[in-house]
């Protein structure tokens, strides 16, 4: 159990800087997810935390101790790798006990710890098997077991679910979350999947191009994205981001549609953001829109419409009987509209 502080951390490979001064404060027992597109520097940051990459500038502290020059094994962390990194020539038992064996722990204590971790993860039957005899999900569990056995202060996960199929991924997602709730160990988790981030995190750190775009609780990021990048990245289906300018008592899109503005709007907004699920059907006073595509998912209906020349994705709780080419009337929930500056991309309402 420990806090983690990353202060103005920078990383360069040669002359190329991949992290431009990143600061994150992680509370004790917090589950923090670093999320962002490929190449945003999230894995590099995690590897710096693990001690696998050195820190070009800035400071990283674990449990109040600056670890810039501390070897990985002395940082009291455990890491789960994307490809699990199980030792192929060792059984599950030896894989899980390897760190304790290196530390010179007595055989009985080692066996007890391995058994305990195996019981938590349901691996009891598999201890004598080799990694090649396990399924993807089982390998994933062994990798976690190996981390649990060490009783680290911090768990690090580097895209641990990306090699699993969709169904298993959902299952392992909840297992990891349950494990965290049970063990209450500070966890840093890297993923490029915003749904993983939303469902698992206590705090999400959205990264892009080696910078932090926004950090905060999942719903805060969803409700009040600080900029265009976060607005587009968090939420599925993605938020509609429509260019235009305030005028004529609303927001005039480039495509020539007039959308209602929230009361908090000011004059500088250049981009109008509305999530598909915040559009509603308004048969009477709604804005007329032409249906382009109807995609029922059962729980909701995703409809792509056009207002003038502006395409707009909507998701309705109701079942929509409309067919492509029909006209329906819709209305954005003005209280949930996000306005951004077109130049800086920052939120303005």
């Amino acid at each position: 159990m420990a806090t983690v502080s990353i202060r103005e951390a920078r990383k360069s490979f040669g002359t190329f800087e991949v992290l431009h001064g990143v600061s994150v404060e992680i509370e004790d027992a917090e589950f923090v997810v670093l999320v962002g597109p490929s190449g945003c520097g999230k894995s590099t940051l995690l590897r710096m935390l693990a001690g696998l990459e050195n820190i070009t500038a800035g400071e990283i502290a674990i449990g109040g101790r600056v670890v810039n020059n501390v070897a990985p094994k002395d940082r009291d962390i455990a890491m789960v790798f994307q490809n699990y990194a199980l030792y192929p020539h060792m059984t599950v038992r030896d894989n899980m006990g390897f760190s304790m064996k290196l530390a010179g722990a007595p055989r009985e204590i080692m066996e007890a710890e391995v058994q305990k971790a195996a019981a938590i993860l349901g691996l009891g039957e598999l201890l004598h098997r080799y990694p090649r005899q396990l399924s993807g999900g089982q390998r994933q569990r062994v990798a976690m077991g190996r981390a649990i056995v060490r009783h680290p202060q911090v768990f690090l996960f580097d895209e641990p679910l990306s090699n699993l199929d969709a169904k298993l991924r959902v299952q392992m997602r909840s297992e990891i979350k349950e494990l965290h709730q049970r063990l209450q160990v500070t966890t840093v988790y890297v993923t490029h999947d915003q749904i993983e981030a939303m469902t698992m995190a206590d705090k999400i750190v959205v990264m892009n191009h080696g910078n932090i775009e926004q950090a905060g609780p999942p719903l805060e990021l969803y409700d009040r994205p600080a900029n265009l990048f976060v607005a587009g990245f968090i939420g599925s289906p993605a938020m509609n981001l429509i260019k235009g300018a305030p005028g004529q008592g609303g927001f005039m899109t480039e495509g020539g549609a007039l959308l209602p503005l929230p009361a908090s709007a000011n004059g500088s907004a250049g981009i109008y953001g509305i999530r598909p699920e915040h559009m509603r059907l308004a048969p009477g006073d709604g804005i007329p829109a032409t249906v382009q595509l109807v995609e029922p998912t059962g729980s909701e209906t995703q409809v792509t419409v056009r207002i003038g020349d502006t395409p707009l994705a909507c998701a309705f709780r109701e079942r929509v009987a409309a067919r492509p080419g029909d006209e329906i009337r819709i209305m954005p929930d003005t209280g949930l509209v996000h306005l951004f500056d077109a130049g800086t991309g920052q939120r303005v309402n």
């Binding site: 094994k73 790798f81 490809n83 020539h89 290196l102 530390a103 190996r146």
Partner: protein, 305 residues
């Protein structure tokens, strides 16, 4: 009823005939095709590869009378087998001594080369120190220099170190051509071992040496075996250094000794020569046959998880 039954059943035997006839012709086709594309070429290979062994074997057991008179006796068969050549080889020459020398030299230089090239390959592939690429290239270039050029300067060094006419002259010079090849083979093999395994071990608390001995080497066993086979075979068969650096007849290695000791003047003692070659090549062949799977897999495949 019976009419109807016969009507319906009548075509059945025909159909089943047709059904069985077709696969039969197909299987005959595929069998003859296998014969042409697989067994025939394979038989050619086997005959060509095994013929030297056969020739060595029959020559070794043939009495001299049969050996030198191929008009009266069929050269491919033995009339009255004899152990005379083997006795000459084993009891009237220092052949057992040559064999142990060759074995000692081959084993020692193989282990020396494996040890050095494991460390070199690991350092070049994993530690990525400044200039590691150039070191790798330089080692490779060293491999390209032919021994027939190198043996002259090496002879000077061997002489000055006082190693001339000792097994150490060979044990220490064979690695000059073994290490470069083994290093390159192992670099390729280490490359196929996922780097995350080592990073994981680093977090688990292993030191570099522990990573090498507990993670990398156990996974590189097929690579080590094939490097070992290669080194052993080359050391066993090496000729030019063994000819140049060893003078006393009893200290020679098998390939050199049978040629220099069993050819007296212009008399070739073919029977003993062939017996010596056969006994000399058997250890390599046996050694090879045990590990051939590893050898193939390390040259063609990679580490499987």
């Amino acid at each position: 009823m019976s009419d109807a039954a016969s009507l319906t059943t009548a075509p059945v035997p025909q159909a089943s005939n047709a059904a069985t006839a077709q696969p039969e012709t197909m299987s005959w086709d595929s069998r003859s095709r296998r014969m042409v594309v697989l067994w025939l070429p394979l038989a050619c290979f086997v005959i060509i590869l095994l013929f030297p062994f056969y020739w060595m074997a029959i020559t070794a057991f043939k009495p001299n009378a049969e050996l030198y008179d191929y008009k009266t006796y069929n050269p491919f068969l033995i009339g009255s087998p004899t152990l005379a050549h083997i006795r000459l080889l084993l009891f009237e020459t220092s052949y057992p001594r040559w064999l142990t020398t060759t074995m000692t030299v081959a084993v020692a230089s193989t282990f020396l080369s494996l040890f050095a090239s494991t460390l070199a390959a690991y350092a070049i592939q994993r530690l990525r120190f400044r200039g590691s690429q150039y070191v790798g290239l330089a080692i490779y270039l060293a491999y390209l220099v032919p021994p027939s050029i190198l043996f002259i300067p090496l002879a000077t060094m061997v002489f000055q170190l006082g190693l001339f006419d000792t097994p150490f002259a060979l044990i220490l010079t064979y690695p000059t051509f073994l290490i470069p090849f083994c290093t390159w083979l192992l670099i390729g093999y280490f490359k196929s071992i996922p780097y995350e395994l080592e990073e994981c071990a680093l977090i688990d608390g292993a030191t570099r040496v522990q990573i090498l001995t507990k993670i990398t080497l156990p996974l590189a066993v097929p690579g080590l075996i094939s490097a070992g086979i290669f080194s052993f075979t080359l050391s066993w068969n090496e000729f030019i250094y063994a000819l140049a650096f060893i003078q006393s007849s009893e200290k020679k290695t098998v390939p050199v000794a049978i040629l220099t000791e069993l050819v007296t003047g212009d008399v070739y003692q073919w029977g003993a020569l062939m017996a010596g070659s056969l006994l000399g090549s058997l250890p390599v062949a046996i050694f090879y046959s045990f590990f051939v799977d590893y050898y193939v897999s390390s040259l063609t495949g990679a580490v499987k998880e």
